[in-house]
Symmetry: C2
DNA sequence: GTTGGTATGTTGGCATACCAGAATACAGTC
DNA sequence: GACTGTATTCTGGTATGCCAACATACCAAC
């Protein structure tokens, strides 16, 4: 029994549906579809080159993810984001990420330290480079190391989903010069606390970081109310 | 403009899809479909009396909710729950519910106090009654008051979704005699802390409560490993 | 010119049809 | 009787078709 496991071929066979979900999610998160924009099914069929069944199922999935909302009569729309929602999301992230950092600090071993160091290096390089997409990815990768090392896989799923919903805000805050200065400092502080195996310090560092991020988001969102509630 | 708002008819028109999602979710949460059981689409069509399109879209939605997982070759099955997953879920609930209770305590006014008291009364009655479904609902209603008063609507969504995933465990723990004794005491303590406007005490009370619940769940799940990972 | 009515187009909700892969049953062969 | 190859069935993936509701445009009548 064990011997066969080695040569099992796991025939991944990505379905069109899965591909469509990824594409659509990417398009929404990257801002290619504006907030509140209607997602006309037949148009998406043309753009994706698949049938309506596939598009509709993908939309249902993204709807449950909170990236798409279906209005009673007029069909699916890219979800809008109120500042109130964003505030709540930052609060939740703060709880989950602080807890993950603390557990990561508790459980960190040499391998984790190495991975975390590498992620931090990439992150700092991305901050210096100034490429938004790279910075976004590097930040994600950094946190993924933390959640993974902490063993918080479900919390990571939740955080990723929440991040999708505030992706436009994240892109905004990540590109803020204010953030470009404080970002690496924050991240370095988080990393150091974890490597020092200090759970409380790690949690505090993460919490402070997110507090700042939320504040930047608020300043850029609240004034002109970019995305109002309706 | 304002005058017309009064007589706007909001034509809810529940779609078959929405109904199907609710039905399926209920069937899974209530345990009518066993964990790991295959969800054969055509069979569901017969049972629900709708077409495959509707069933499939409903399944996609529940898949994103984490209640259903689609295996690469053989289609959708009711999601399995490992103790590791359950443990993480209890941890997350602890964070979110403690935070909600704390904010609820900060913001509690007379109206909240009244609603909370009513919910607690129902809950205690349900504990006494011993009807599992009623107890489940009353517990949900109690927490809904807390999250609603705290203004944590998104966290509430997340908690509800997580609760769906551990619904079988919740049913188990709620019906445990051990819980029947300590449950009302815990809930009363939570309620009192909130009414006393003591955020820290409220958070601690919720945290303790969930710690116990998780422990009961562990004891009932870990020994025989009811739902293994694969 | 405004108003009421009709025709047309757009679009989502739902149902059905077709196909291919996998599993199972079955039959033939040694 | 065990094994192998084939036929059948099951089932999910995908595409397409139909319909009703809503929106828009156009038209006629006053």
């Amino acid at each position: 029994m064990d011997r066969t496991d080695d040569l099992r071929i796991d025939h991944a066979a990505p379905t069109l549906r899965a591909l469509a979900v990824d594409r659509l999610r990417g398009a929404i998160i990257s801002g290619r579809f504006a907030s509140g924009e209607r997602l006309v099914e037949r148009a998406l069929c043309d753009q994706l080159g698949v049938s309506r069944s596939v598009v509709r199922e993908a939309i249902r999935y993204l709807e449950a993810e909170g990236l798409v909302e279906t209005q009673p009569r007029s069909g699916p729309v890219v979800a809008r984001l109120s500042w109130e929602d964003a505030r709540q999301i930052y609060d939740i992230r703060r709880l989950l990420e602080a807890a993950a950092a603390a557990d990561c600090a508790r459980r960190a071993d040499e391998a984790v330290a190495e991975r975390l160091g590498a992620a931090l290096a990439r992150l700092i390089a991305a901050f210096a480079g100034g490429e938004p997409a790279a910075l976004y990815d590097a930040t994600t990768a950094f946190y993924e190391v933390i959640f993974s090392a902490a063993g918080h896989s479900i919390a990571w799923d939740i955080v990723q989903r929440l991040n999708g919903r505030i992706s436009r805000l994240r892109a905004l805050t990540l590109s803020t010069t204010n953030r470009r200065v404080s970002g690496p400092a924050h991240m370095t502080r988080i990393c150091e606390a974890i490597l020092a195996r200090d759970p409380d310090a790690a949690a505090a560092a993460v919490s402070d970081h997110l507090h700042d991020a939320a504040e930047i988001a608020r300043q850029s969102l609240a004034p002109q109310s970019l995305e109002d509630t309706q």
